[in-house]
């Protein structure tokens, strides 16, 4: 941590990235990689990109309701992180989680159907954009309250530890989360109790419109675990291989050492906080930079793969086409899936049915004669 330069929002990703190149987690050499894996990462990133673009479109067409936060610009972080987990590891995320759900192994159909509020959605239409959940994929929830998932993830790690399991828990969050009480309480507990959890801060330099500098007295977020003796690392979130390696390192250390770790991945949020946010608080320069080719994880990776001869024109076309089809299929599936029946309104209030639970509809009398 000799480097004391602070990453800043907007124009500073470059300097943070430049600094990263001097650090040990330099991007891996493509020659050491399996082309199959590289193409798989590329495909997943592209799938997340196209999925989110389609989501934004469906949202503006009012096919999707509520709030809607996209992973655009964060695809390398999403795919890199998920490739570090095995299928038995658990994931908790914040509300910007569509890409994570897909990369954790949930069908884009189920994610899109959830966005459409259909019964075939991952959360059966009860959660929406911010609340994806899948027991089998071990995505234990996207959470809409900033910081809400931190104590929960800590508790899941406690359950693993209690039972002597070898799973780890990954807990994703945004940069603004590092200032909420739950952050401090959770990291403290996880460290005290030696829990196998990796907290991941996805730093896009801005919590809604408030920059990291404006909100965090220590804007080097990966250092903020030090108060709890939690080792932290920072990685360039635009580089899928660097993210994968950094995450794998910490995930495996959490597993073997039974300790919590902290990872910060920085990347640009290409658009506003949510679909409806025009991001007027950004200067033209900041907006340009967020969308610049050099900050676009997919453009960056594509260029590298092409230069290395891994991504041929033919492979690119095949991947692009199949991704387009998969996204179109997901949207069709969502569109043609049934809405939940109103008769199911009271199905999920309680897991253990109870006497005297009120099942009154609006305007129903309390006591029908």
């Amino acid at each position: 941590m000799a480097d004391t330069a602070k990453p800043k929002g907007g124009g500073t990703a470059k300097s943070a990235g430049g600094r990263r190149r001097n650090r040990k987690n330099d991007t891996p050499n493509l020659a050491d990689e399996q082309p199959k894996d590289l193409l798989d990462y590329y495909r997943q990133m592209l799938l997340v990109r196209r999925f989110e673009e389609r989501t934004g479109q469906a949202y503006t067409q009012a096919r999707i309701g509520g709030y809607c936060h996209l992973n655009l610009g964060e695809e390398a972080t999403v795919v890199g992180l998920m490739s570090a987990l095995n299928e038995r590891d658990y994931l908790f995320t914040n509300y910007r989680e569509h890409g994570y759900a897909i990369a954790k192994g949930i069908s884009p159909r189920g994610v899109m159907a959830e966005l459409y509020g259909r019964t075939t959605g991952v959360s059966k239409g009860w959660g929406g954009s911010m609340h994806m959940f899948d027991t089998e994929a071990r995505l234990l929830g996207g959470y809409g309250i900033v910081g809400g998932q931190l104590p929960l993830a800590t508790g899941a790690a406690l359950a693993v530890s209690y039972r002597g399991g070898d799973e780890i828990v990954m807990c994703q969050m945004g940069d603004g989360t590092t200032n909420i009480g739950a952050w401090h309480e959770s990291l403290n507990i996880a460290s005290l109790w030696n829990l196998p959890v990796v907290y991941v801060v996805v730093n896009n330099f801005t919590g809604m419109g408030t920059t990291v500098e404006m909100s965090s007295a220590e804007p080097d977020l990966y250092k903020r675990g030090s108060a709890f003796r939690i080792e932290g690392q920072r990685v360039d979130g635009r580089d899928v291989l660097a993210v994968r390696d950094a995450a794998t390192d910490l995930v495996e250390r959490a597993r073997s050492e039974q300790r919590p770790f902290l990872l910060e991945a920085f990347s640009h949020r290409m658009k506003g906080h949510s679909v409806v946010d025009p991001a007027k608080y950004r200067t033209q320069e900041q907006a340009d930079e967020a969308r610049a080719q050099e900050n676009d994880p997919i453009a960056l990776f594509e260029e590298r793969l092409e230069k290395a001869g891994v991504l041929t024109e033919e492979a690119k076309k095949e991947i692009t086409d199949s991704v387009r089809e998969e996204v179109a299929d997901a949207a069709d599936f969502a569109e043609n899936s049934p809405h939940p029946d109103v008769s199911t309104l009271f199905d999920y209030t309680y897991a253990t049915p109870v006497a005297n639970e009120s099942r009154r509809m609006p305007a129903d009398p309390v006591f029908a004669e």
Binding site: L152, Y162, N188, V366
Partner: protein, 332 residues
Amino acid sequence: MSVITYRQALRETLRAEMHRDEDVFLIGEEIGIFEGSYKITEGLLKEFGERRVRDTPIAEEGFVGTAIGAAMLGLRPVVELMTINFSLLAIDQIVNHAAKIYGMFGGQTSVPMVIRTPGGGGQQLGATHSQNIELFYSFVPGLKVLAPSTPGDAASMLRAAIRDDDPVLFLENLGLYNSKGEVPDDGDQVAEIGRAAVTREGSDITLIGYSRMAVVAQQVAEKLAEDDISVEVVDLRSLRPLDRETIVESVRKTGSAVIAEDDWLTYGIGAEIAATIQEGAFDFLDAPVRRVAMAEVPLPYAKPLETAALPSVDSVITAVKETLNAVGRRVG
């Protein structure tokens, strides 16, 4: 049957449930080495060890949320919050998470946990340590809120709460911990959640209470029996779900009702009970429903002020008598 205290009933139930089910563990501030601020967990650390009796930092949001997360993976945490006042520090986790996780994810995972916590004024603890804010949680679908008033109920309802798959706020009362009552020795009574109890039958008036005020209601009924006034006592036991039928059935029989509650009057639990009565027993009422609640002030420290602010046997008797006078029965 043995006669034991409310405190002993809780402790023995926790012990028995921990022996019965390896997934049950205790988590909270000062519950281990200190053996609990109110000694409910006395001896349990020694018996079960640190894995199952887990002392936490002073971090209510953190450890309540940690318990929720553990419950999502199938453990059955029993959280102790030192007093219900401190639940406010964890209210995001309780209301936004514990209460929502089952429904918000389409029933994919439940949250089988219990939050034990005492309420109750009268201990000269001042404004921030003497509140009865169970209403906040009783308002929220997804939570269950239980409030036993006797050692027997404390045991059977805590057992039910631990075995239930939903988050249960289990309200205890500082003033009841030393109260004594009969508890079956075989110790496997499991209460049905959501049932009130008519704990004393009567014909003149229905007196409704829960937790400490259910005990006060019994005392009131006994005292008024000396004056030939027959009071039917309903102990709510469960604040959510609320047993509306038992309440209404009783009022339909007696024709009048007084509600005794330790929380504040305006928007309080009693307001919901009164609304329930007018919806279910309007034609049977011979007098307006009367509520006896805590004075609407931050509870003061000084003893005369504190005593004056709290409902008591005397204030409930006054309300009962005035209600019966309104009915037209002269009771002085």
